[in-house]
Structure formats: structure tokens, C-alpha cells
Subunit: 222 residues, 2 copies
């Protein structure tokens, strides 16, 4: 059985879990306390980060995009990137947008400050970072509305790794109750479609002890 080393409410871990679900691949999860810097884990991934996926034959893959590209190459059915090179470039452009631009402008400022700092006991959250995250998220939800106004899904006419990546990030912010869905109905419609997918359901059952999500978190009709 393949093993996914993860932490809960982590966008890159959610991304890989949705991708595994879309590919209908079974896996076991192991919580990796990355802050303990366990030597055996650092030997698997010198960057010391999750997700890490260990295949049944022992092959070790580090990082969400490396894992997803590998899964799409070795399990080509239900392509996550697309079949045409230009479509794949557009999917990857949007994956990069959410994994890096959205991450630095939103995820890091909200999940990083509010949740990770508490779990890792790194001190008080930075109020100005939180305000920046809450401001920046509108622009990205508008961009999702713009894209789904022109296309069925974010990168084209199929649910791709771009949708998976965007939804993975938003799921962690939604766990905090910080996504202003009421002001962004088009983005909400798209996220409702993502939430209904069987690949997404396991994330909605995830809980961090002492930090419950808002009531709407696992409600498909939020």
C-alpha cells in the first residue's frame, strides 16, 4: 500500500489527497510532525516538508507538484493536466498561480499565522499579515470567477490539477472560516462543484483537536 506522509489542513497535502482520489488510488496516511525533523524522514525528503508519497515498491516522491506530475505520468487515465501540450501549460500556469502566488498572498498569511503558529508555538499571529491575507483573497476569488465565466473549469473543459490546487488552498482557509463566499457567488458555485466530488470528501472529515472548523465546512450546500 502507498503511504502519504502529511500534516492536517495543509494545502499541498490536500492537493495530493484530491489527486489520489481523482486517480482512484488507495493510500494510507501517516502524520509527520515535520517540526521534529525526524532523521528517517529527512533521509526521505532533505527539504523536511510534506507531502511525501512512498509507493508500494518503495519509490519515494517529495512535494505536491512532483507527486502529481508522477501520478499523471504513471497513471495516465483521467489526466490531471490535459493531453495537449498547450492545455498542459495552461493547467501548470494556474497550478503555479495557486501554489505560489495565492500561497504567499493568502494561505501563508491566514493559515500560517492563525493555525500553524499556534500549533508550532511560534508566538502571536501577526495582525498585519492576517489583514493582508483577508484583503488579497478577494482578488483571487475574482480571478476564479473570471476563469469560470469563460470556461467550465479553471484551466479548460475538465476538472484539472488547477482546480485541485485552488480548491486545496481554499479548503485550508475555509477551515478557518475566512473565505468570504457571500461576496463571491461565482467562486462559491465552482467550490461547491469541487466539494461534491468523491475525491474531496475525505478532506471535509479532517479535524485539528482544539481547532474545529466552522459549521459550514463539511456542508455540501454551504
Amino acid at each position: 500500500m502507498r503511504i502519504l506522509y502529511h500534516v492536517p489542513v495543509s494545502a499541498p497535502c490536500h492537493k495530493v489527497r484530491i489527486a489520489l482520489g481523482e486517480k482512484k488510488l488507495a493510500y494510507e496516511m501517516k502524520l509527520e510532525k515535520i517540526w521534529e525533523r525526524r532523521p528517517d524522514f529527512l533521509a526521505m525528503n532533505p527539504a523536511g516538508e510534506v507531502p511525501v508519497l512512498v509507493e508500494a515498491d518503495g519509490k519515494t516522491l517529495c512535494g505536491s507538484q512532483v507527486i502529481c506530475e508522477y501520478l499523471d505520468e504513471t497513471q495516465p487515465e483521467n489526466s490531471l493536466l490535459g493531453t495537449d501540450a498547450l492545455q498542459r501549460a495552461e493547467t501548470r500556469r494556474l497550478v503555479e498561480w495557486f501554489d505560489h502566488k495565492f500561497y504567499h498572498e493568502v494561505t501563508e498569511n491566514l493559515v500560517g499565522e492563525k493555525l500553524m503558529k499556534r500549533i508550532l508555538r511560534l508566538g502571536e499571529p501577526d495582525g498585519s499579515a492576517i489583514r493582508a491575507g483577508l484583503t488579497n483573497i478577494h482578488y483571487h476569488l475574482d480571478y476564479i470567477a473570471f476563469l469560470t465565466g469563460h470556461r467550465t473549469w479553471l484551466s479548460g473543459d475538465f476538472c484539472s490539477l488547477a482546480d485541485i490546487t485552488a480548491a486545496a488552498h481554499l479548503s485550508t482557509i475555509d477551515y478557518l472560516g475566512d473565505v468570504p463566499w457571500d461576496r463571491h457567488p461565482e467562486a462559491k458555485d465552482w467550490y461547491a462543484r469541487m466539494k461534491c466530488r468523491p475525491s474531496f470528501r475525505p478532506l471535509l472529515a479532517e479535524r485539528i483537536p482544539g481547532s474545529p472548523p466552522p459549521k459550514h465546512y463539511d456542508d455540501l450546500d454551504f
Copy 2:
């Protein structure tokens, strides 16, 4: 003719230029003053960043990794990633390492503070960021030594996108004279091999007016 929108002494732009050189693909360069946020450029890349590559047929590709994956898919000769899925995963792991880990720990702290802040008139460089960059670089040069102690090139037995990405970042820091080559002879040997490649030569002729590089910058026997 394909056009590369770029800025000088930029790691992601250098990465694409080396990749185009390795693929023996001709291109024209256009300087894009991204800080002016030109509407026609933002229409091509809503992220407002370089590099952007426009193919002769008008296809537009945004971001260094998107461009390099596209080039490797459409011009498969001299593969930049490798042919086996696990090799490709290892190449992508190291690309990610240098494009993100190295970037945030080193490039941003040195090139961002010393060069970009002056060009963009963003105020005085932050001394503590520069000190962090100068400290962090040793660990990464040690990692290059570790990898090349086990393999011919960073990700295996061929010069891959991992080498190209690492060398692209180091080239921008070497432009500042901030790579402590004397203390890292193994990394220096690997970089000397990169510097000798015809794909690398055009970068060494690049100059920013008013900010010349140190004398050894374009010296193949540095």
C-alpha cells in the same frame, strides 16, 4: 521567431535562456519593465511576471517551469527532465528545491535586496536579509557538493533542468560577487562545467548599466 520577455540578471529568465540554448532553439529577447505593469503584457501574463515566451505561432507560455516543461514536451530531443518517470520526479524535486527553497533562502535575500531594490527604487537594502542570504548559501553549496559526490550531474548522469535551475540562480548571485566559491571547491567544479556549456555563454555577456559584475563573472577559469 519566438520572443522571450525578460529582465536581466533574473534567475527564472536565465533558466529559460539556458533551456532554450540546450534545445538549440533561436529566440529574440525583449526587455519587459514589469514594474510598469503594461496592460498588453498583463493580458499575456496576468501574474505580471517574466519570463513569458511567445512562440512564432503566437502560443504564449508564462513562467519558467511552465515554459521548460512545454519545451521538453514539444522538443523531446536532449530531454531536460529525463525519460523515466522516477528520474523526472528527481529532476523536478531539485528544480523545486532551487526555484523555491533556494530562491527564498538565498536569491531573494541577495539579488532582491541588493539589485532589485535599487533598480526599482524600493529603498535601502535590508542588512539582516543580506546576512541571512550570505549564511544560507553555504548549506546549498554543500548540498550541490553532496549531490555531485554521488552523481555526475545534480539529478543523475546527464545535465538536466535541475542543473540549469541551480546554475541560473547561482549566476545571478555570482553577478553580485556573493558566491563563496573558494570555500566550496566541489560546487565550483560543477559550476565551471555549467559555465563552459554553449547554452550558458550568452548570460555571461549580460550587463546592468551602473552595476557591473565582478571580474571573474564571465571568466570560464574563475
